[in-house]
Amino acid sequence: MRCKSLFSLLIVAFGLFCLTNSVFAQEASAEPVAAAAPANGGEKKLDIGEIIFGHVGDSHEWHFFEIGEKPVAMPLPMILYTKDGVKVMSSGHFEEWGKDPVTGVVKSNSHEGVHIEKGMKEKVVADDGSEIYDLSITKNVLSLLISVVLLLWIGFSVAKKYKAGGATKAPSGFQNAFETAILFIRDEVAIPNLGKSKHGRYMPLLLTLFFFIWINNLLGLLPGGANLTGNIAVTLCLSLISFLVMVGSANKHFWGHLLNPPGVPFFVKIVLVPIEIISLFIKPVALTIRLFANILAGHIIILCVISIIFIFAGLNKFAGAGFAPISIAFSIFMFMLELLVAAIQAFIFTNLTSVFIGSAIEEAHHHDDDHAHEPESIEIMM
C-alpha cells in the first residue's frame, strides 16, 4: 500500500508539474503567486486556488493531466432539462474558455443556448438566464456509477461464495476480509445500538452505507479520482436517507419524549421542546457536514502540500526542488492518514446512523432520564 500511495503521489506531482511547466517557462519575474486572479490579463499565472478547487469540485469532463497547454480529458455526456425540454450533448462542445469582461467569471463558449461557468464549482447556465436542471453525467456521477458497479460486483461475488460454500465452509480469500467488515458492523455497530432482536431490519442499510462510503472514499484517493464523498450533495443524500429511516422507524416512546417530556415542568417544556426538535434536525446536518468536511479537507490538504512545491518553485526553481522531498514526505503522511480517515469516516457515519435509529426505536425503560445522552456523547467525537 505504501508503494501504491507513493506511486500515486508521484503521478499527482507529475501531473501538476506538467500543468504548471509551461507557466514557469513564460514567467520571467519570480513574483509570489497568490490565489487571487492574475492582475495583468495577458500573462498566465499559477492559480493555486483554481487548481485546488478544480480538483475537489465536480466537472463536466474528466480531466487527467495536461501535456504542455493541451489538456488530456474525457468529455462526459450532459443531460439538461431546460425550458425547451431535455437536451443531451457532449461536454466536448465547450472548449473555448474565457473571462467575462463584465462579471469577471470564467465561462465557456455557448452551445445550444447554454454555457458553463466556472467559479468555485462548475455551473451550467442558460444564455437567456432561464432555469436549467443539470442531470449531466459529471465526473462525480461517473465515479459514483463506477463505485456502484464495484459494490455490486464485490457484493455478488462474495454472496456467491457464501451460497456455494454454505454455512459449514470456512471463509477464504476476499470473502474473509469482507466477512470481518460485515461482522464488525453487525457486532460493534448494529447490535450494541439497535439491540439483538431489532438489528436485523437495519443491517442492509448499515452495511450498504458503510461499504458505499468506504469505497467512494478510497476511489476519491486514487490519482485523478473524483471527490465524491467530499461533495455535499452526496453526503446530504446519504444523511437524508438515514434520517428518513430514523424518523420512519421512530416509536411512540421517542415522539413522546421529544414533544412532551414526562416529569418536566411546563415552563421548562417551552424551552426544552424547541431545543429537542432542533436537535432532531441537527442530526442529519451533522452527518452531512462531518463526512463532507472531513473528506474535502483531506483532499485540500494533500493538494496544498503538493502545491507548496510549485509556490516555492515560483519564487526560485531551487527552492522548489529543495522543498519537494519535504512536501512529498508530508503528503505521503497525509495520504496514509486519509486512507485511515476513509475507513474511520465510513464507520462513524454508519455508527451514528445506528445510534440515531437506536434512539428512535428504543423502548420505554425505568431510567427515564438517561435515554437521550448516549447519542450526543458519540456525536462529539470526530
Binding site: 442531470l135 459514483l144 457484493g155 455478488f156 461482522l183 453487525r186 443524500c237
Partner: protein, 164 residues
C-alpha cells in the same frame, strides 16, 4: 460558499444509485451472507454445546466403566475363592470316600480270611480226630489181640471200679 450548496444533478443521481445499490445488495448479497453467517454461528454454538454434552457423557461413562471394572474384579476374586473352596471340598470328600472304601475292602477281606481260616481249622480238627481214632483203634486192636493184654485191661478196668 458554492461548495456548501448541494448540486441538484449529483443529488438526484446519488439518491438513485444509492437506493438501487441498497435494494439490490439487500436482496442478493446481504440477505444470503447474513443468513449464512447466522447459520454458521448457530452451527458452531451447537457443535460446542454438543461437544460439551459429549464430554460430560464420556466422563459419566468412564466412571461407570470404572465402577463396572471394580465390580467385575470383586466378582472374579469371589468366584476364584469359591472355586478354590469347592475344589478343596471335592478333594477332601474324595479322600474320605476313598478311605472309607479302602477300610470297607480291608474289613471284608479280614472277614473272609477269618471265615476261611475257621473252615480250614475245622477241617484240620476233623482230620486230626479221625486220624487219632484210627490210631487208637489200631493200638487197641494190637493190645487186645493177646490174652494177657485182655487180662491186664480187665484188671485195670476192675481196678477203676472201686466198691465203696
Amino acid at each position: 460558499m458554492d461548495l456548501l450548496i448541494p448540486g441538484f444533478g449529483l443529488f438526484f443521481w446519488n439518491t438513485l444509485a444509492f437506493l438501487l445499490v441498497l435494494f439490490i445488495l439487500a436482496k442478493f448479497a446481504w440477505k444470503p451472507i447474513l443468513k449464512t453467517l447466522g447459520e454458521r454461528e448457530k452451527g458452531i454454538a451447537d457443535a460446542i454445546s454438543s461437544a460439551e454434552k459429549m464430554k460430560g457423557e464420556m466422563s459419566q461413562m468412564k466412571s461407570e466403566n470404572e465402577k463396572l471394572m471394580a465390580q467385575a474384579n470383586e466378582e472374579r476374586s469371589a468366584m476364584l475363592k469359591e472355586a478354590k473352596e469347592l475344589k478343596d471340598r471335592i478333594v477332601n470328600e474324595a479322600k474320605e470316600q476313598a478311605k472309607a472304601e479302602a477300610n470297607k475292602i480291608i474289613a471284608d477281606a479280614q472277614v473272609q480270611i477269618n471265615q476261611q481260616k475257621n473252615a480250614a481249622m475245622a477241617e484240620v480238627k476233623n482230620e486230626i480226630g479221625s486220624i487219632a481214632l484210627e490210631v487208637a483203634e489200631k493200638i487197641l486192636r494190637k493190645q487186645l489181640a493177646t490174652t494177657e493184654g485182655q487180662e491186664a485191661y480187665m484188671s485195670m478196668a476192675a481196678d477203676s471200679i472201686k466198691l465203696n
